[in-house]
C-alpha cells in the first residue's frame, strides 16, 4: 500500500493497538467482574483481593436468592408491563409525528417543527413536570411511567430523517392512485425503513428498561415499582447497611448484589449482539441537523 513506515511509526502503530485494546478491555471488565463474583463462593469472594479473573469457587446461591425474591419478580413483571405499554404508544405516535415532519409544504409545518425541537433545549423542569402529573391525576398510576416518555424528540428526528430518504416518486404515484397519507405511511414509508423502525424501537426499549427516576418520583406503591427501582434499593440504599449479625446472611447479601445486576442486565446483553449493527445507522440519522 501507500505506507512506507518508519520505525517510529511501527512503534506507534503497535502502541495504538495496545491502547485501543486496553480501552476496550476496560469497558468490558466491570461486567465480567460482576459475572464472576455472582458465581463465586461467598466466603472465598470476600477473602479475595484484587482483580477477579475467574469465579472463586462456584455457587448459585445468589441466583437462587434473587429468583425467589418476590420484590424482584414483581419488579420484573412491572418493567415488562411498562416496556410493552410504552413501546405500543411510542411506536404509534413516533411514526405519525415523523411522517408529518418529513412532509413538506403544508401550512404551519415550521411552527410544528419548532414546537417539537424547542423541547430538546428547554423544559419546564422537575417541579412543574411533577405538578402536571399530579394535577392530571396520574400520580401513583402506571400511566405516569408510560405516557410522559411516549415520544422522544431525538427518535422523532431519527425517523424523520429515514422517511426523507424514501424516494418521493413512490409517494406521488400512490397519491395518483388515490391513497391518503395514512395509507402512504403504513403501506409505503414504514415498510421502506424497517431497519430504522428497529433502531428506534430498540432506543425506546432500552431507555424504558433502564429508567428509574420517573418511577421514583411518580410511584408511591412499591407494588408498581419497576426492576430498576428495586435494584436501587438493593445496590445503593442498602449498600452501607450490613445490619445482619449472621455472617452467612451477610455473605449472601453480597452475592445477591452481584446476581441481581446480572439478572437485570442479561436481557439487554442478549439483544445487544443482534442490535449492534444498527447502532451506527441510528446515531447517524439522528445527527442530521435542521
Amino acid at each position: 500500500m501507500m505506507d512506507k513506515r518508519t520505525p517510529l511509526e511501527k512503534v506507534l502503530h503497535a502502541l495504538n493497538y495496545a491502547v485501543v485494546t486496553a480501552v476496550s478491555l476496560m469497558c468490558l471488565y466491570p461486567m465480567l467482574h460482576v459475572l464472576f463474583a455472582s458465581l463465586s463462593d461467598p466466603m472465598r469472594l470476600l477473602a479475595h483481593r484484587g482483580l477477579l479473573l475467574w469465579p472463586q469457587g462456584f455457587s448459585l446461591k445468589g441466583y437462587q436468592a434473587v429468583l425467589s425474591n418476590p420484590n424482584i419478580l414483581s419488579g420484573y413483571m412491572n418493567t415488562i408491563i411498562y416496556l410493552a405499554g410504552g413501546l405500543v404508544v411510542s411506536m404509534v405516535l413516533t411514526p405519525l409525528g415523523a411522517y408529518a415532519l418529513a412532509c413538506k409544504d403544508y401550512p404551519f409545518r415550521n411552527v410544528l417543527v419548532f414546537l417539537f425541537v424547542f423541547t430538546m433545549y428547554f423544559s419546564g423542569g422537575l417541579i412543574p413536570n411533577f405538578l402536571v402529573i399530579k394535577n392530571l391525576g396520574l400520580y401513583d398510576s402506571r400511566w405516569a411511567i408510560i405516557l410522559p416518555t411516549a415520544v422522544s424528540t431525538y427518535n422523532l428526528i431519527v425517523m424523520r430523517t429515514a422517511f426523507s430518504s424514501v424516494p418521493g416518486a413512490l409517494q406521488e404515484s400512490a397519491c395518483l392512485d388515490g391513497a391518503n397519507d395514512f395509507v402512504i405511511l403504513y403501506r409505503i414509508y414504514i415498510p421502506c425503513i424497517r431497519a430504522t423502525m428497529a433502531v428506534v424501537c430498540l432506543f425506546y426499549a432500552v431507555s424504558q428498561w433502564n429508567s428509574w427516576f420517573n418511577s421514583m418520583i411518580y410511584l408511591q406503591s412499591s407494588s408498581k415499582w419497576p426492576l430498576q427501582l428495586w435494584l436501587r434499593e438493593i445496590l445503593i440504599n442498602s449498600a452501607s447497611g450490613g445490619t445482619s449479625d449472621d455472617a452467612d446472611a451477610l455473605y449472601l447479601q453480597e452475592l445477591i448484589r452481584y446476581a441481581v445486576i446480572i439478572v437485570a442486565t442479561v436481557p439487554i446483553l442478549v439483544v445487544y449482539p443482534y442490535a449492534q449493527k444498527y447502532f451506527m445507522k441510528g446515531v447517524m440519522l439522528g445527527s442530521v441537523k435542521g
Partner: protein
C-alpha cells in the same frame, strides 16, 4: 391572471384542507407535546408565586422574584452553582475529547474484524442502566472494593472514594467517560470512514507520515461534526447529571457533589417547596439557554458551522 391574484387568499384554508390527514396524524403528537411539555412550561409561573397545591395556580399569591432572591442569597447558591460548573467543565475538558481520540485511534487499526469487535465492546457500557453503573461504583469505591484494591497496589491509602470530597469528582467524571466514550465515538468514526481516500494518497505522496495525515486530513474532515457536537454539549452544560448525582452522592460529600438539579430535587420536591424548586429550575434552564446561544453564535462566527 385573476386566479393568480386570488390564490394566496383562498389558499391557506384550501391547502390545509388538502393536507387534512397530516393534521389528523399530528393531532395525537401535538396533544402529547402540549400536555407533557408545554403545560409544564406554563406551570413555570409558580416560580413567581407562593404556590399551594390546594389553592392552585390561579388562587396562589404572587410574590415576584422572591424565590430567585432566596436562592441566590441563600447559603447553598454558590456551592451548587460552583459544583455544577466545575463538574461539567471537567466533563467537557476530559469527556468531550475522549471519544474523538478513541475514534482517531480506532480508525488507524487495519484489521477490520478486530476493529469491529473492539467497537462493539466499547459501546456496551452505554446500555447498562445507570442504577447498575452507580451500584457498581458504590461497590467498587468502598474501602475494600475493587478500586481500592487496585489503588492499594500503587501505595494509596484505602478510603471510601465516594465518601470523600477529594475523590468524589474523579469517580464521577472517570465513570462518565467510561459510560460514553465508545458510544460517542460512533459518530466520529462514521465521518472518518467517509474521508476521501485520495486525500490520504495525495498527502502520502507529498511525504506526510501517519501522524501528519491524521493532523492535516482526518481532523479537518471531522471538524464540522466536532463543532456541532460541542455546541450541543454546551447546550446541555447545566442540565445533565442529576440522576447520577442523586444515585451517587451522600450528605458527607454535598460540598463537592451537590449540583443545582439535585438541590431542586431535595428542596423543591422532597421538602415540597414547589415554588422555590421551580424558581431554581428556571434559573438553571435560562443559564443553560444562554450558554447554548453563545456557543452557537461564537461557532457561527469562527467556523461557519452552527445549529441554526
Amino acid at each position: 391572471m385573476k386566479r393568480a391574484i386570488n390564490r394566496p387568499r383562498k389558499s391557506l384554508w384550501a391547502r390545509m384542507k388538502k393536507h387534512k390527514y397530516i393534521y389528523l396524524m399530528l393531532l395525537p403528537v401535538v396533544i402529547y407535546y402540549i400536555v407533557f411539555h408545554y403545560l409544564a412550561m406554563g406551570g413555570l409561573v409558580i416560580a413567581f408565586q407562593n404556590y399551594k397545591p390546594k389553592l392552585g395556580i390561579l388562587g396562589s399569591k404572587w410574590v415576584g422574584l422572591k424565590h430567585f432572591e432566596d436562592f441566590l442569597t441563600g447559603k447553598y447558591a454558590w456551592r451548587v452553582i460552583r459544583n455544577t460548573l466545575v463538574l461539567n467543565l471537567y466533563l467537557l475538558l476530559f469527556g468531550f475529547p475522549a471519544p474523538i481520540i478513541l475514534a482517531l485511534l480506532m480508525n488507524e487499526l487495519r484489521d477490520n474484524a478486530y476493529k469491529k469487535t473492539l467497537q462493539t465492546v466499547s459501546y456496551m457500557p452505554h446500555f447498562i442502566s445507570l442504577v447498575v453503573v452507580c451500584g457498581l461504583l458504590v461497590d467498587f469505591s468502598m474501602s475494600d472494593g475493587l478500586f481500592n484494591n487496585v489503588l492499594a497496589l500503587f501505595g494509596f491509602e484505602r478510603t471510601n472514594l465516594l465518601g470523600s470530597n477529594q475523590y468524589y469528582r474523579t469517580v464521577y467524571i472517570v465513570s462518565n467517560i467510561w459510560q460514553n466514550v465508545g458510544w460517542n465515538s460512533i459518530i466520529y468514526l462514521a465521518s472518518l470512514s467517509s474521508v476521501d481516500n485520495s486525500l490520504h494518497e495525495a498527502a502520502a505522496i507529498d511525504g506526510a507520515g501517519r501522524l501528519r495525515r491524521i493532523w492535516h486530513v482526518n481532523i479537518p474532515a471531522i471538524l464540522p461534526v466536532i463543532v456541532i457536537q460541542l455546541i450541543m454539549r454546551i447546550g446541555n452544560l447545566m442540565s445533565q447529571g442529576y440522576e447520577k448525582t442523586i444515585l451517587l452522592y451522600s450528605p458527607v460529600v454535598y460540598e463537592t457533589a451537590d449540583i443545582i438539579s439535585s438541590h431542586v430535587y431535595r428542596y423543591g420536591l422532597e421538602k415540597t417547596n414547589y415554588s422555590y424548586g421551580a424558581a431554581v429550575g428556571v434559573f438553571n434552564s435560562l443559564v443553560n439557554l444562554v450558554f447554548l446561544c453563545t456557543a452557537n453564535q461564537v461557532s457561527r462566527r469562527l467556523t461557519e458551522t452552527s445549529l441554526w
